[in-house]
């Protein structure tokens, strides 16, 4: 039987392997040195790799993002650990106007091997400054790559790919999956960008989900199977590049598509998928493409309000039944 690790432990093992493999890899962020990271992203690595490669920073996101952008241009392979992804907002000018554009502006003479990581997601009364998702906003910036793993195996494999990529990559970690355990191979492996995973096969309806919503959708799919409803579940894994082919193949089989995403609906992941499916698989569809999203509001602190804004299993089940009833 394959060993099981938490999402965080698997990602940390991937980070440690890459730091051992390549001395150019280093981490900057608040509390990622001796403290081992607010989310234990670097726990235990300080003893092995020391303060130069696990570099604690002051609270100065724009400053250390700019520093790492420069380091990436001259041979470093930095990882910026934002702790909460919300803090990226203080570095947005640097990321969009410099980090994402340098390869293009230099006609490919420069590369930008830089990883940004941070926790995302609703659900822990972390309040509005610590609960954002932001991936649609990032995925529409040319030059950036965005991955959102849902399992321990994918966390390790996608983080290793992100570290080896010469492009700036956002590696996003939903708070509710950090402690979920899953099988992780002992042997080295990478998970490529731009490949969604069909995590449950079905024939009646396709459901594309992201991060925590993958686990909730799988629970609903298992329950619906008992009454003969066959749900295919696709874990998107990678937002940019988007694996539209896997979704099209699934829709060709089922004729119905629901996108479950706790981030906002307007101009989001579901809107993009729906547009591409309409353009390329209109004749495959037996029902309009449907979306289930979080409420369009800043994330509230109050736990009952917070729970009301995030898709739960009851709402996912209702949305699947609605698509099937069309």
């Amino acid at each position: 039987m394959m060993r099981e690790l938490t999402f965080t432990a698997a990602a940390r093992e991937g980070l440690s392997e890459e730091m051992a493999r390549d001395p150019a890899v280093f981490v900057m962020g608040e509390g990622i040195g001796e403290r081992g990271g607010n989310w234990a992203t670097t726990l235990g690595l300080y003893e092995t790799y020391g303060p130069w490669r696990l570099r604690d920073t002051p609270i100065s996101e724009r400053g250390f993002t700019g520093l790492c952008t420069g380091a990436a241009l001259v041979g470093g392979r930095p990882i910026v650990d934002f702790m909460f992804l919300d803090f990226l907002l203080d570095a947005m000018g640097e990321i969009i106007n410099q980090t994402s554009k340098m390869q293009y502006m230099s006609a490919g003479r420069l590369t930008m091997p830089l990883v940004f990581r941070g926790s995302i997601g609703v659900g822990f009364a972390s309040a509005t400054h610590h609960s954002g998702n932001y991936y649609p906003m990032l995925a529409r910036v040319p030059g950036l790559r965005v991955v959102v793993p849902a399992t321990a195996r994918d966390a390790k494999g996608l983080l290793k790919t992100a570290i080896r990529s010469d492009d700036p990559v956002f590696f996003l970690e939903h708070k509710a999956v950090l402690n979920l355990k899953g099988p992780v191979p002992e042997d080295e492996y990478l998970v490529p960008f731009g490949e969604a995973a069909v995590v449950r096969e079905g024939i009646d309806v396709s459901v594309v989900a992201v991060a925590l919503m993958v686990h909730r959708t799988l629970a609903v799919a298992a329950a619906l199977e008992r009454e003969g409803v066959s749900v295919e579940v696709i874990d998107l894994r990678s937002i940019a590049p988007l694996d539209i082919e896997t979704i099209l193949t699934s829709v060709h089989k089922t004729g119905r598509l629901l996108i479950v995403d706790e981030d906002y609906a307007p101009f989001g992941v579901g809107a993009e998928i729906a547009a591409q499916v309409m353009a390329r698989a209109f004749d495959d569809l037996d029902a309009p493409v449907a979306r289930l999203n979080g409420a369009f509001a800043p994330v509230p602190y109050s736990p009952p309000l917070e729970a009301a804004m995030q898709p739960d299993t009851a709402r996912i089940e209702r949305a699947i039944r609605d698509v099937l009833a069309e």
């Binding site: 490919g108 030059g143 080896r164 010469d166 492009d167 960008f193």
Partner: protein, 52 residues
């Protein structure tokens, strides 16, 4: 810099003329080059490496 002896006027003039020559050469190269092929508009948004 001139008053405290860090630099001499002749050095500054030489640096200035070197920079002017470099900029003029870059200008000449740019204006003498053909416009880029519109087909290359998507080149180098991403690297050609891992994950490309």
């Amino acid at each position: 810099m001139l008053s405290d002896g860090t630099a001499r006027a002749a050095d500054l003039a030489r640096i200035e003329s070197e920079i002017t020559a470099e900029v003029e050469e870059a200008m000449r190269f740019a204006t003498d080059s053909p416009w880029p092929d519109p087909a290359t508009v998507l080149d180098h948004v991403y690297s050609d490496g891992v994950g490309a």
